[in-house]
Amino acid sequence: MKFLRSRLFAFIMCIVLLCVGLMLHSAYTGESSRLTRLLGTVVTPVQNAVAGAFDGVNGFFGYFYRYSSLVEENRRLQEELAEYREMEQKYLNAINENTELRKLTGLKAKYRDFDFELCQVASVYRGSAQAGMVLSKGSSAGIEQGDTVMTRGGMIGYVSDLGPGYCEVVTVLDVAFKAEAKVARTRETVIAEGDFQLMGDGYFRLSYLSPDCDIQEGDIIETSGYAGVYPQGLILGTVKRVELDSSGLMAYAVVQPVEDISEVRWVYAVKDFEVVD
Protein backbone atom coordinates (compact mmCIF):
# COMPACT_ATOMS: atom_id res chain seq x y z
CA MET A 1 0.00 0.00 0.00
CA LYS A 2 2.89 2.29 0.82
CA PHE A 3 4.23 1.70 -2.69
CA LEU A 4 0.91 2.79 -4.23
CA ARG A 5 1.25 6.17 -2.49
CA SER A 6 4.92 6.59 -3.37
CA ARG A 7 6.48 8.96 -5.87
CA LEU A 8 7.83 6.01 -7.87
CA PHE A 9 4.35 4.60 -8.42
CA ALA A 10 3.10 8.00 -9.59
CA PHE A 11 6.06 8.17 -11.99
CA ILE A 12 5.30 4.68 -13.33
CA MET A 13 1.64 5.56 -13.85
CA CYS A 14 2.57 8.75 -15.73
CA ILE A 15 4.81 6.80 -18.08
CA VAL A 16 2.24 4.03 -18.60
CA LEU A 17 -0.54 6.53 -19.32
CA LEU A 18 1.65 8.48 -21.75
CA CYS A 19 2.77 5.36 -23.62
CA VAL A 20 -0.69 3.81 -23.77
CA GLY A 21 -2.03 7.12 -25.03
CA LEU A 22 0.61 7.16 -27.77
CA MET A 23 -0.21 3.57 -28.75
CA LEU A 24 -3.93 4.30 -28.95
CA HIS A 25 -3.28 7.45 -30.97
CA SER A 26 -1.04 5.52 -33.36
CA ALA A 27 -3.55 2.66 -33.71
CA TYR A 28 -6.50 5.01 -34.25
CA THR A 29 -4.95 7.53 -36.64
CA GLY A 30 -2.22 5.40 -38.26
CA GLU A 31 0.19 8.30 -37.75
CA SER A 32 2.84 9.27 -35.23
CA SER A 33 2.10 11.79 -32.51
CA ARG A 34 3.50 15.32 -32.54
CA LEU A 35 6.00 14.35 -29.86
CA THR A 36 7.60 11.65 -32.01
CA ARG A 37 7.50 13.87 -35.09
CA LEU A 38 9.27 16.63 -33.21
CA LEU A 39 11.92 14.18 -31.96
CA GLY A 40 12.37 12.79 -35.45
CA THR A 41 12.77 16.26 -36.93
CA VAL A 42 15.44 17.12 -34.34
CA VAL A 43 17.34 13.82 -34.43
CA THR A 44 17.33 13.18 -38.21
CA PRO A 45 19.96 15.91 -38.91
CA VAL A 46 22.19 14.20 -36.33
CA GLN A 47 21.79 10.95 -38.24
CA ASN A 48 22.59 12.77 -41.46
CA ALA A 49 25.79 14.12 -39.92
CA VAL A 50 26.83 10.67 -38.66
CA ALA A 51 26.01 9.12 -42.04
CA GLY A 52 28.08 11.82 -43.77
CA ALA A 53 31.05 11.15 -41.49
CA PHE A 54 30.73 7.43 -42.07
CA ASP A 55 30.56 7.95 -45.85
CA GLY A 56 33.75 10.01 -45.67
CA VAL A 57 35.63 7.33 -43.75
CA ASN A 58 34.21 4.56 -45.92
CA GLY A 59 35.14 6.44 -49.08
CA PHE A 60 38.72 6.91 -47.92
CA PHE A 61 39.34 3.33 -46.80
CA GLY A 62 37.12 1.89 -49.52
CA TYR A 63 39.68 3.09 -52.04
CA PHE A 64 42.02 0.42 -50.65
CA TYR A 65 39.82 -2.57 -49.90
CA ARG A 66 37.19 -2.19 -52.63
CA TYR A 67 39.54 -1.67 -55.56
CA SER A 68 39.43 -5.21 -56.97
CA SER A 69 35.62 -5.51 -56.58
CA LEU A 70 35.22 -2.15 -58.34
CA VAL A 71 37.42 -3.31 -61.23
CA GLU A 72 35.30 -6.45 -61.57
CA GLU A 73 32.07 -4.47 -61.37
CA ASN A 74 33.36 -2.03 -64.00
CA ARG A 75 34.16 -4.88 -66.38
CA ARG A 76 30.69 -6.41 -65.88
CA LEU A 77 28.95 -3.06 -66.38
CA GLN A 78 30.85 -2.43 -69.62
CA GLU A 79 29.68 -5.78 -70.97
CA GLU A 80 26.10 -4.94 -70.02
CA LEU A 81 26.42 -1.52 -71.62
CA ALA A 82 27.54 -3.09 -74.89
CA GLU A 83 24.49 -5.40 -74.84
CA TYR A 84 22.13 -2.50 -74.14
CA ARG A 85 23.60 -0.44 -76.99
CA GLU A 86 22.79 -3.30 -79.35
CA MET A 87 19.19 -3.43 -78.07
CA GLU A 88 18.82 0.36 -78.11
CA GLN A 89 18.46 0.62 -81.88
CA LYS A 90 15.69 -2.02 -81.89
CA TYR A 91 13.86 -0.17 -79.10
CA LEU A 92 14.16 3.17 -80.89
CA ASN A 93 12.64 1.62 -84.01
CA ALA A 94 9.80 0.14 -81.94
CA ILE A 95 9.15 3.50 -80.22
CA ASN A 96 9.03 5.35 -83.56
CA GLU A 97 6.65 2.76 -84.97
CA ASN A 98 4.48 2.99 -81.86
CA THR A 99 4.34 6.80 -82.11
CA GLU A 100 3.29 6.64 -85.78
CA LEU A 101 0.61 4.03 -85.04
CA ARG A 102 -0.77 6.14 -82.17
CA LYS A 103 -1.05 9.14 -84.51
CA LEU A 104 -2.79 7.02 -87.14
CA THR A 105 -5.31 5.55 -84.71
CA GLY A 106 -5.83 8.78 -82.76
CA LEU A 107 -4.64 7.35 -79.41
CA LYS A 108 -3.21 9.72 -76.81
CA ALA A 109 0.60 9.76 -76.64
CA LYS A 110 2.21 7.96 -73.73
CA TYR A 111 3.03 10.44 -71.06
CA ARG A 112 4.68 10.29 -67.65
CA ASP A 113 5.09 13.23 -65.35
CA PHE A 114 6.44 12.95 -61.83
CA ASP A 115 6.86 15.54 -59.12
CA PHE A 116 9.97 14.37 -57.26
CA GLU A 117 11.56 15.38 -54.01
CA LEU A 118 15.21 14.39 -53.66
CA CYS A 119 15.94 13.03 -50.16
CA GLN A 120 19.01 11.75 -48.41
CA VAL A 121 18.82 8.42 -46.60
CA ALA A 122 19.51 9.28 -42.97
CA SER A 123 19.34 5.76 -41.60
CA VAL A 124 18.71 2.17 -42.65
CA TYR A 125 16.96 -0.26 -40.33
CA ARG A 126 17.04 -4.06 -40.41
CA GLY A 127 15.06 -5.66 -37.59
CA SER A 128 13.76 -9.17 -37.03
CA ALA A 129 11.24 -8.92 -39.89
CA GLN A 130 11.55 -5.28 -40.85
CA ALA A 131 13.61 -3.52 -43.49
CA GLY A 132 13.14 0.21 -43.64
CA MET A 133 14.86 3.54 -43.86
CA VAL A 134 14.44 7.09 -42.64
CA LEU A 135 14.79 9.96 -45.10
CA SER A 136 15.92 13.49 -44.40
CA LYS A 137 12.76 15.28 -45.60
CA GLY A 138 9.15 15.05 -44.57
CA SER A 139 5.78 16.78 -44.72
CA SER A 140 7.32 20.25 -44.87
CA ALA A 141 8.70 19.30 -48.32
CA GLY A 142 5.26 18.21 -49.52
CA ILE A 143 5.79 14.48 -48.99
CA GLU A 144 2.72 12.54 -47.83
CA GLN A 145 2.04 9.15 -46.33
CA GLY A 146 1.86 6.49 -49.03
CA ASP A 147 4.14 8.32 -51.51
CA THR A 148 6.33 6.10 -53.66
CA VAL A 149 10.06 6.12 -52.95
CA MET A 150 12.36 5.32 -55.84
CA THR A 151 15.87 5.57 -57.16
CA ARG A 152 16.90 6.07 -60.79
CA GLY A 153 16.67 2.30 -61.15
CA GLY A 154 13.11 1.94 -59.92
CA MET A 155 10.85 1.70 -56.90
CA ILE A 156 12.32 0.65 -53.56
CA GLY A 157 9.45 1.33 -51.16
CA TYR A 158 6.80 3.74 -49.91
CA VAL A 159 6.41 6.31 -47.14
CA SER A 160 4.73 4.71 -44.10
CA ASP A 161 4.95 7.58 -41.63
CA LEU A 162 6.41 11.05 -41.54
CA GLY A 163 7.02 14.21 -39.60
CA PRO A 164 7.89 17.73 -40.70
CA GLY A 165 11.59 16.92 -41.26
CA TYR A 166 11.75 13.17 -41.82
CA CYS A 167 9.83 10.22 -43.23
CA GLU A 168 9.90 6.48 -42.59
CA VAL A 169 10.02 4.20 -45.59
CA VAL A 170 8.88 0.58 -45.81
CA THR A 171 11.14 -1.04 -48.40
CA VAL A 172 10.37 -3.90 -50.80
CA LEU A 173 12.21 -6.31 -48.46
CA ASP A 174 9.90 -5.65 -45.49
CA VAL A 175 7.27 -8.29 -44.67
CA ALA A 176 4.68 -5.49 -44.58
CA PHE A 177 5.33 -4.55 -48.22
CA LYS A 178 2.80 -5.74 -50.77
CA ALA A 179 2.17 -4.35 -54.27
CA GLU A 180 0.46 -5.38 -57.47
CA ALA A 181 3.04 -5.79 -60.21
CA LYS A 182 3.45 -6.95 -63.79
CA VAL A 183 5.99 -9.07 -65.60
CA ALA A 184 7.31 -6.69 -68.27
CA ARG A 185 7.78 -9.42 -70.89
CA THR A 186 4.44 -11.25 -70.57
CA ARG A 187 2.29 -8.48 -68.95
CA GLU A 188 1.13 -11.08 -66.42
CA THR A 189 -0.17 -9.57 -63.17
CA VAL A 190 1.56 -10.77 -60.01
CA ILE A 191 1.77 -9.84 -56.32
CA ALA A 192 5.15 -8.59 -55.09
CA GLU A 193 5.71 -8.84 -51.35
CA GLY A 194 8.47 -9.01 -48.77
CA ASP A 195 9.45 -12.41 -47.40
CA PHE A 196 11.13 -13.14 -44.09
CA GLN A 197 13.16 -16.08 -45.42
CA LEU A 198 14.47 -14.13 -48.42
CA MET A 199 15.04 -10.84 -46.60
CA GLY A 200 18.44 -11.88 -45.27
CA ASP A 201 19.65 -12.46 -48.85
CA GLY A 202 18.29 -9.11 -49.96
CA TYR A 203 15.45 -10.54 -52.10
CA PHE A 204 11.66 -10.35 -52.10
CA ARG A 205 9.12 -12.60 -53.81
CA LEU A 206 6.29 -12.80 -56.30
CA SER A 207 3.57 -14.92 -54.76
CA TYR A 208 0.57 -16.98 -55.89
CA LEU A 209 2.06 -18.09 -59.20
CA SER A 210 0.76 -21.17 -60.95
CA PRO A 211 3.36 -23.97 -61.26
CA ASP A 212 3.39 -23.59 -65.08
CA CYS A 213 3.63 -19.79 -65.09
CA ASP A 214 5.66 -18.16 -67.85
CA ILE A 215 8.19 -16.38 -65.66
CA GLN A 216 11.87 -16.97 -66.08
CA GLU A 217 15.16 -15.78 -64.72
CA GLY A 218 16.01 -12.29 -65.90
CA ASP A 219 12.40 -11.11 -66.29
CA ILE A 220 11.84 -7.49 -65.25
CA ILE A 221 9.08 -6.90 -62.69
CA GLU A 222 7.44 -3.49 -62.72
CA THR A 223 4.56 -1.79 -60.89
CA SER A 224 1.16 -2.33 -62.50
CA GLY A 225 -0.25 1.06 -61.60
CA TYR A 226 -3.70 -0.40 -60.91
CA ALA A 227 -5.78 1.64 -58.47
CA GLY A 228 -3.32 4.51 -58.90
CA VAL A 229 -1.49 3.76 -55.66
CA TYR A 230 1.95 3.58 -57.30
CA PRO A 231 2.95 4.98 -60.70
CA GLN A 232 2.76 2.43 -63.47
CA GLY A 233 5.92 1.04 -65.03
CA LEU A 234 8.42 1.56 -62.19
CA ILE A 235 10.86 -1.34 -62.09
CA LEU A 236 10.71 -3.31 -58.84
CA GLY A 237 13.39 -5.87 -59.61
CA THR A 238 14.66 -8.78 -61.67
CA VAL A 239 13.65 -12.42 -61.29
CA LYS A 240 16.46 -14.63 -59.98
CA ARG A 241 14.68 -17.98 -59.94
CA VAL A 242 11.23 -19.61 -59.76
CA GLU A 243 10.50 -22.25 -57.14
CA LEU A 244 7.59 -24.34 -55.90
CA ASP A 245 6.35 -23.53 -52.41
CA SER A 246 6.18 -26.11 -49.63
CA SER A 247 2.73 -27.35 -50.71
CA GLY A 248 3.85 -27.97 -54.29
CA LEU A 249 0.61 -26.46 -55.60
CA MET A 250 1.81 -22.90 -56.10
CA ALA A 251 5.04 -21.38 -57.27
CA TYR A 252 6.83 -18.21 -56.28
CA ALA A 253 9.60 -16.20 -57.86
CA VAL A 254 12.62 -14.82 -56.04
CA VAL A 255 13.26 -11.24 -57.12
CA GLN A 256 16.31 -9.06 -56.67
CA PRO A 257 15.45 -5.38 -56.01
CA VAL A 258 16.76 -2.68 -58.35
CA GLU A 259 19.21 -1.45 -55.70
CA ASP A 260 21.02 -2.83 -52.66
CA ILE A 261 18.80 -1.20 -50.03
CA SER A 262 21.59 -0.89 -47.46
CA GLU A 263 23.83 1.01 -49.90
CA VAL A 264 21.32 3.56 -51.20
CA ARG A 265 22.25 7.16 -50.30
CA TRP A 266 19.82 9.32 -52.26
CA VAL A 267 16.24 8.57 -53.22
CA TYR A 268 13.30 10.34 -54.80
CA ALA A 269 9.96 10.64 -53.07
CA VAL A 270 7.21 10.88 -55.70
CA LYS A 271 4.87 13.56 -54.39
CA ASP A 272 2.60 13.49 -57.42
CA PHE A 273 2.45 11.66 -60.73
CA GLU A 274 0.49 11.39 -63.94
CA VAL A 275 0.88 8.41 -66.25
CA VAL A 276 -0.93 8.04 -69.56
CA ASP A 277 -0.35 4.66 -71.15
Binding site: L8, V43, F54, V121, S123, R126, G127, S128, A129, M199
Partner: protein, 175 residues
Protein backbone atom coordinates in the same frame (compact mmCIF):
# COMPACT_ATOMS: atom_id res chain seq x y z
CA UNK B 1 25.90 25.71 -0.34
CA UNK B 2 28.80 25.47 -2.79
CA UNK B 3 28.89 21.70 -2.36
CA UNK B 4 25.14 21.46 -3.15
CA UNK B 5 25.49 23.63 -6.25
CA UNK B 6 28.41 21.51 -7.41
CA UNK B 7 26.37 18.30 -7.02
CA UNK B 8 23.44 19.79 -8.97
CA UNK B 9 25.70 20.98 -11.74
CA UNK B 10 27.32 17.56 -12.01
CA UNK B 11 23.90 15.91 -12.10
CA UNK B 12 22.84 18.26 -14.90
CA UNK B 13 25.99 17.48 -16.89
CA UNK B 14 25.46 13.74 -16.38
CA UNK B 15 21.86 14.00 -17.56
CA UNK B 16 22.90 15.91 -20.68
CA UNK B 17 25.68 13.43 -21.40
CA UNK B 18 23.32 10.47 -21.01
CA UNK B 19 20.84 12.10 -23.41
CA UNK B 20 23.65 12.66 -25.90
CA UNK B 21 24.83 9.08 -25.48
CA UNK B 22 21.36 7.67 -26.18
CA UNK B 23 20.93 9.99 -29.18
CA UNK B 24 24.34 9.13 -30.62
CA UNK B 25 23.78 5.41 -30.05
CA UNK B 26 20.52 5.68 -31.99
CA UNK B 27 22.14 7.71 -34.78
CA UNK B 28 25.22 5.50 -35.13
CA UNK B 29 23.40 2.17 -35.03
CA UNK B 30 20.93 3.24 -37.71
CA UNK B 31 23.53 4.75 -40.03
CA UNK B 32 23.80 3.49 -43.54
CA UNK B 33 26.59 0.94 -43.63
CA UNK B 34 26.28 0.14 -39.93
CA UNK B 35 24.02 -2.85 -40.46
CA UNK B 36 26.10 -5.73 -39.29
CA UNK B 37 26.50 -9.43 -39.51
CA UNK B 38 25.97 -12.01 -42.25
CA UNK B 39 22.30 -11.11 -42.55
CA UNK B 40 22.83 -7.37 -42.17
CA UNK B 41 20.89 -6.66 -38.97
CA UNK B 42 20.78 -3.39 -37.07
CA UNK B 43 22.24 -3.62 -33.57
CA UNK B 44 20.22 -2.28 -30.66
CA UNK B 45 22.37 -1.42 -27.62
CA UNK B 46 19.60 0.65 -26.00
CA UNK B 47 18.49 -2.00 -23.44
CA UNK B 48 22.05 -2.33 -22.15
CA UNK B 49 22.64 1.42 -22.05
CA UNK B 50 19.32 2.05 -20.26
CA UNK B 51 20.02 -0.76 -17.78
CA UNK B 52 23.47 0.68 -17.05
CA UNK B 53 22.08 4.20 -16.54
CA UNK B 54 19.33 2.85 -14.28
CA UNK B 55 21.79 0.88 -12.17
CA UNK B 56 23.99 3.90 -11.62
CA UNK B 57 21.43 6.73 -11.47
CA UNK B 58 18.20 5.16 -10.23
CA UNK B 59 14.70 4.46 -11.57
CA UNK B 60 13.73 8.03 -12.49
CA UNK B 61 16.71 8.68 -14.75
CA UNK B 62 16.48 5.10 -16.08
CA UNK B 63 12.75 5.38 -16.74
CA UNK B 64 12.97 8.82 -18.33
CA UNK B 65 15.83 7.90 -20.62
CA UNK B 66 14.16 4.59 -21.44
CA UNK B 67 11.09 6.53 -22.54
CA UNK B 68 13.24 8.81 -24.71
CA UNK B 69 15.16 5.89 -26.23
CA UNK B 70 11.92 4.04 -27.00
CA UNK B 71 10.44 7.08 -28.77
CA UNK B 72 13.61 7.34 -30.86
CA UNK B 73 13.48 3.66 -31.80
CA UNK B 74 9.83 3.95 -32.87
CA UNK B 75 10.86 6.55 -35.49
CA UNK B 76 12.72 4.03 -37.61
CA UNK B 77 10.71 0.87 -36.94
CA UNK B 78 7.03 0.40 -37.57
CA UNK B 79 6.22 -1.02 -34.19
CA UNK B 80 3.31 0.90 -32.72
CA UNK B 81 4.50 4.19 -31.30
CA UNK B 82 4.66 4.05 -27.52
CA UNK B 83 5.35 0.32 -27.25
CA UNK B 84 9.15 0.56 -27.38
CA UNK B 85 9.00 3.58 -25.07
CA UNK B 86 6.89 1.67 -22.54
CA UNK B 87 9.06 -1.46 -22.43
CA UNK B 88 12.36 0.45 -22.24
CA UNK B 89 11.00 2.80 -19.57
CA UNK B 90 9.84 -0.21 -17.53
CA UNK B 91 13.28 -1.77 -17.99
CA UNK B 92 14.88 1.41 -16.63
CA UNK B 93 12.50 1.56 -13.67
CA UNK B 94 12.89 -2.13 -12.83
CA UNK B 95 16.67 -2.02 -13.03
CA UNK B 96 16.87 1.20 -11.05
CA UNK B 97 14.48 0.19 -8.25
CA UNK B 98 14.33 -3.59 -7.94
CA UNK B 99 17.43 -4.99 -9.57
CA UNK B 100 19.77 -2.78 -7.53
CA UNK B 101 18.38 -4.41 -4.37
CA UNK B 102 19.51 -7.86 -5.50
CA UNK B 103 22.42 -7.18 -7.83
CA UNK B 104 25.61 -5.23 -7.58
CA UNK B 105 26.29 -2.39 -10.00
CA UNK B 106 28.65 -4.38 -12.19
CA UNK B 107 29.09 -5.15 -15.86
CA UNK B 108 27.66 -8.65 -15.39
CA UNK B 109 24.46 -7.33 -13.80
CA UNK B 110 23.88 -4.88 -16.64
CA UNK B 111 24.44 -7.58 -19.23
CA UNK B 112 22.07 -9.98 -17.45
CA UNK B 113 19.33 -7.34 -17.35
CA UNK B 114 19.92 -6.34 -20.97
CA UNK B 115 19.95 -9.93 -22.20
CA UNK B 116 16.79 -10.75 -20.23
CA UNK B 117 15.05 -7.78 -21.82
CA UNK B 118 16.16 -8.86 -25.30
CA UNK B 119 14.89 -12.40 -24.62
CA UNK B 120 11.46 -11.13 -23.56
CA UNK B 121 11.37 -8.71 -26.50
CA UNK B 122 12.27 -11.55 -28.86
CA UNK B 123 9.43 -13.70 -27.53
CA UNK B 124 6.95 -10.85 -27.98
CA UNK B 125 8.18 -10.25 -31.56
CA UNK B 126 7.97 -13.96 -32.39
CA UNK B 127 4.36 -14.18 -31.20
CA UNK B 128 3.43 -10.96 -33.03
CA UNK B 129 4.89 -12.00 -36.39
CA UNK B 130 3.54 -15.55 -36.08
CA UNK B 131 0.03 -14.21 -35.38
CA UNK B 132 -0.14 -11.35 -37.89
CA UNK B 133 2.24 -12.38 -40.67
CA UNK B 134 2.39 -16.17 -40.37
CA UNK B 135 6.17 -16.11 -40.02
CA UNK B 136 7.44 -19.15 -38.06
CA UNK B 137 8.42 -18.07 -34.55
CA UNK B 138 11.64 -20.11 -34.71
CA UNK B 139 12.95 -17.94 -37.55
CA UNK B 140 12.24 -14.74 -35.67
CA UNK B 141 13.93 -16.09 -32.54
CA UNK B 142 17.06 -17.04 -34.52
CA UNK B 143 17.11 -13.56 -36.05
CA UNK B 144 16.71 -12.05 -32.59
CA UNK B 145 19.59 -14.14 -31.26
CA UNK B 146 21.84 -12.60 -33.91
CA UNK B 147 20.64 -9.10 -33.04
CA UNK B 148 21.10 -9.83 -29.31
CA UNK B 149 24.67 -11.09 -29.72
CA UNK B 150 25.77 -8.08 -31.75
CA UNK B 151 23.80 -5.67 -29.54
CA UNK B 152 25.46 -7.08 -26.42
CA UNK B 153 28.87 -6.19 -27.84
CA UNK B 154 27.74 -2.65 -28.52
CA UNK B 155 25.96 -2.56 -25.15
CA UNK B 156 29.19 -3.47 -23.37
CA UNK B 157 30.78 -0.38 -24.87
CA UNK B 158 27.76 1.61 -23.72
CA UNK B 159 28.26 0.33 -20.16
CA UNK B 160 31.90 1.45 -20.20
CA UNK B 161 30.86 4.96 -21.26
CA UNK B 162 28.04 5.16 -18.68
CA UNK B 163 30.23 3.96 -15.82
CA UNK B 164 32.93 6.45 -16.76
CA UNK B 165 30.44 9.32 -16.93
CA UNK B 166 29.07 8.32 -13.53
CA UNK B 167 32.54 8.04 -11.99
CA UNK B 168 33.68 11.36 -13.44
CA UNK B 169 30.67 13.44 -12.35
CA UNK B 170 29.74 11.84 -9.04
CA UNK B 171 31.38 13.00 -5.81
CA UNK B 172 33.67 10.29 -4.47
CA UNK B 173 31.56 9.61 -1.40
CA UNK B 174 28.44 8.98 -3.48
CA UNK B 175 29.60 6.17 -5.85
Amino acid sequence: MQFTLSVDRDRLIKTVLYFLLVTLAYAICGTRGMVWGPDMVTVNPMPFIIAAIAFYEGPYMGGGLGLYAGLLLSIQSHTHEGFEALVLAMLGILCGSAAVLFMRRTFASVMVCGLSFMAVRGIISSIYYQLFYGIPWQGIMVEYLKITFLSALAGALGWVIVSNIHRRFTPKGNY
